[in-house]
């Protein structure tokens, strides 16, 4: 039983990541109708915002030693972080919290990237065939990836968890179970609540603001809204920016769990499309529901008890569930009729 509870927690955590990436993708793909293969790259760039932020914080003053040599024969380098030099202990706290703090960097950066992408490139593709959207966004994804590789190399860049969130919390003991039965890493719990918070914020934004109302109206009938004299294009640009932010902050917070490298985006790309489509085209709640469902199912299928019965089931479970759902429910879990069906 405790094993199942742990797997459900794992699944929710995984699902949180899936849901966040899928949420951003569904904003542009399910509603603006753009097949955005560069969405994974946005997630990756978000993660590298954290890497960059930490690099800036830990910028070191390098002094070449005049007497000592390194083992490979060049003068020995003596390094001290500037942040530590200038701010002392406060500098160290900054470095410790670099991951959550880099959200502050990620939000403006991602908004900018999203807007530039939409205005500069995607805008011209709203009315072009999906095939061409695939080609242009895939090309863009490769270019972004290669740029990141040029700066950060191909190796993963580990990001530390802030001291307070290190280690695992004993959830079982909190609800009166025996010690050490259900323990879970604190950072993963943070991630879970963070993803729920972002999802709630996006929904609230679309539901309770005038902006959101106009955008929702624009999604269902773009022409009529335009006729009302509302500049829907500008709002769609901002939507794209929001999608980029959601993907970006998801990437930032995921870095301690998955040390990012430049292929991170491509690794998640296929999975994200599956989550969005299983959720149903054009449905934001669908994307979130599908994200959490697939996460939990994947975790449960990876239990050894299940694998002993069907070897290799954990390899294919996501795809298998996707096939079954799409066969049983023609438009995914909560999809709308007529969106991307022909």
């Amino acid at each position: 039983m405790d094993a199942v509870i742990l797997q459900v927690l794992n699944g929710l955590d995984k699902g949180g990541a899936y849901a966040l990436i899928a949420l951003g993708l569904t904003l542009v793909f399910g509603t603006l109708g753009v097949v955005n293969f560069a969405h994974g790259a946005l997630f990756m760039i978000g993660a590298f915002c954290a890497v960059t932020f930490r690099k800036i914080l830990t910028l070191e003053q390098v002094v070449l030693s005049e007497t000592e040599l390194s083992p490979w024969g060049t003068p020995l380098e003596i390094r001290t972080p500037f942040a530590q030099q200038w701010f002392g202990d406060f500098g160290n706290v900054l470095i410790d919290y670099s991951v959550p703090l880099s959200i502050l960097l990620a939000i403006p950066v991602m908004l900018l990237i999203g807007i530039v992408m939409e205005r500069g490139l995607i805008k011209h593709f709203y009315k072009r065939p999906h095939a061409e959207q695939i080609l242009v966004t895939f090309g863009l994804a490769i270019v972004l990836q290669e740029i990141v590789k040029a700066f950060f190399g191909a190796n993963p860049n580990p990001q530390p968890i802030p001291q307070v969130f290190l280690g695992a919390a004993d959830l079982g003991a909190m609800v009166g179970m025996a010690e050490h039965v259900i323990t879970y890493p604190k950072w993963r719990l943070v991630y879970l609540f963070f993803s729920l918070g972002v999802v709630a914020a996006v929904f609230a934004f679309l539901r309770f603001t005038t902006f959101g109302m106009v955008v929702r109206a624009g999604m269902s009938d773009r022409e009529t809204v335009s006729m009302l004299g509302i500049n829907i294009d500008k709002r769609f640009t901002i939507m794209f920016g929001i999608a980029a932010i959601v993907a970006g902050v998801a990437g930032v917070m995921y870095t301690p769990i998955l040390p990012p490298d430049y292929t991170l985006g491509m690794d998640f790309l296929v999975l994200t499309f599956i989550v969005v489509v299983v959720g149903g085209m054009g449905s934001l709640p669908g994307a979130v529901l599908a994200g959490f469902t697939l996460g939990v199912v994947q975790s449960l299928a990876s239990m050894t008890q299940v694998k002993d019965i069907i070897p290799g089931i954990d390899q294919i479970i996501i795809y298998l569930v996707a096939v079954v759902i799409l066969l049983v429910r023609p438009r995914g879990l909560l999809g709308k009729r007529g969106v991307m069906e022909n």
Binding site: L135, F138, G139, V270, A322
Partner: protein
């Protein structure tokens, strides 16, 4: 059955000349060696076959790599169990990829649009994942399915002694790993191209294009489109299977990576890059991507230094530094940039560029001929808000 419109016959003749003379005209491009020539012919065939589905019906399959993989495995198993004869291997590849395509197509075609794409993607990914892990007894997983000295090769060993070294695939004594192998692939490509031309201009092809422009309307007229779709899917799957078989014939090792989504994605990109719905476009797209992968990636700094050696030293250094970011380990960057530039400036792919040049020439010669140049099949489709 071999009669065809004059225009198609000319296209075919030109295409045949271009393909068969590849060893000559590719040599200034540094691409005239058997390994790459074979790949050019094989991936061209793959793209031609894919276009029968995607180009004619508009159904975007994201899982065609599965058929490529099944074809390769079937061919290698035919080498291992029966004979090194390539014809037999291709036959096996056709049968197995056909069955596979029938099964996947039957299920996937119950949905359309993006839902269809994701279903094909899911099936292909499942095939890849299983081939890489639990199906290793059949596929040899990561190491790839290879020939061994102890293979039964029942038919071959009835006629000859077991040799000391591994056999190579040969068509009645002609080895398939050199230029001969290229011509074998080229001939099959030409046959495949011819059949694709026939399909495009046949009533069946018309029906498929009808489905593309409006499937609902076809259904309202009391017409069941499903069998037509399934036939197109299976034909296109068999093309991919033959291509997979040819990969094994020219180089007898089949790996699971051939089934990965990136392989399917590459095929989609080839088709779009060249021009969806045109016969030649996907072939050109395939050649360009394979050229980048094999030739651009091979330019290292010492070659660049030699190329730019005519420049003054300090200029050379800068030029080499900049250009080295785009070749060698940077070849992905060039590829990505090219995707973006082509699609921004040439909506409809590279064939659109060719058409623009052609129409420019013909307009200068005879303005009234303008209409003929853009034949309806190549017209950029009017796209609704939701795309195709």
């Amino acid at each position: 059955m071999f009669s065809m419109p004059k225009k198609d016959a000319i296209t075919f003749a030109l295409f045949a000349i271009v393909v068969l003379s590849m060893p000559i005209w590719l040599s200034p491009f540094g691409a005239s060696y058997p390994g790459l020539l074979q790949k050019f012919a094989i991936y061209a065939l793959l793209a031609v076959g894919y276009n029968i589905l995607f180009g004619l019906t508009g159904y975007l399959s994201f899982g065609h790599a599965a058929f490529l993989g099944v074809g390769s495995y079937a061919a290698v198993w035919s080498f291992k169990l029966l004979s090194m004869n390539p014809i037999l291997a291709i036959a096996f590849a056709m049968v197995f990829s056909g069955i596979f395509a029938l099964a996947i197509g039957y299920v996937s075609l119950r949905r359309s649009g993006i839902y269809f794409s994701i279903l094909t993607l899911a099936f292909a990914q499942m095939s890849y994942k299983l081939a890489y892990s639990v199906l290793s007894p059949i596929t040899h997983g990561e190491n790839g399915l290879q020939l061994t000295l102890q293979d039964p090769r029942v038919i071959d060993l009835m006629f000859m002694e077991r040799g000391v070294s591994l056999p190579t695939s040969s068509l009645f004594g002609i080895p398939m790993n050199g230029y001969e192998g290229f011509y074998f692939c080229a001939v099959i490509l030409l046959i495949g191209f011819f059949i694709a031309q026939k399909i495009t201009s046949s009533p069946f092809g018309m029906m498929l294009k009808g489905i593309k422009s409006n499937e609902d309307r076809m259904n309202y007229t009391g017409f069941n489109t499903k069998p037509y779709m399934l036939t197109a899917f299976v034909i296109s799957g068999i093309y991919a299977g033959i291509a997979g078989g040819l990969l094994s014939v020219t180089d007898p090792l089949a790996g699971a990576e051939r089934m990965q989504w990136t392989a399917s994605g590459e095929l989609v990109l080839m088709t779009i890059l060249g021009g969806v719905g045109t016969l030649i476009g996907p072939v050109i797209g395939a050649w360009i991507i394979k050229y980048f992968e094999n030739i651009f990636s091979a330019w290292n700094e010492s070659i660049l230094h030699n190329v730019f050696a005519f420049l003054p030293d300090n200029v050379e250094g800068i030029v080499v530094l900049i250009s080295s970011k785009f070749v060698g380990e940077g070849w992905h960057l060039t590829l990505g940039l090219m995707f973006v530039l082509v699609v921004v400036f040439l909506p409809g792919g590279i064939m659109e560029g060719v058409r623009r040049i052609a129409s420019w020439f013909s307009r200068r010669k005879d303005p009234t001929k303008d209409q003929e140049v853009t034949d309806p099949e190549n017209m950029p489709k009017p796209s609704s808000k939701k795309g195709e």
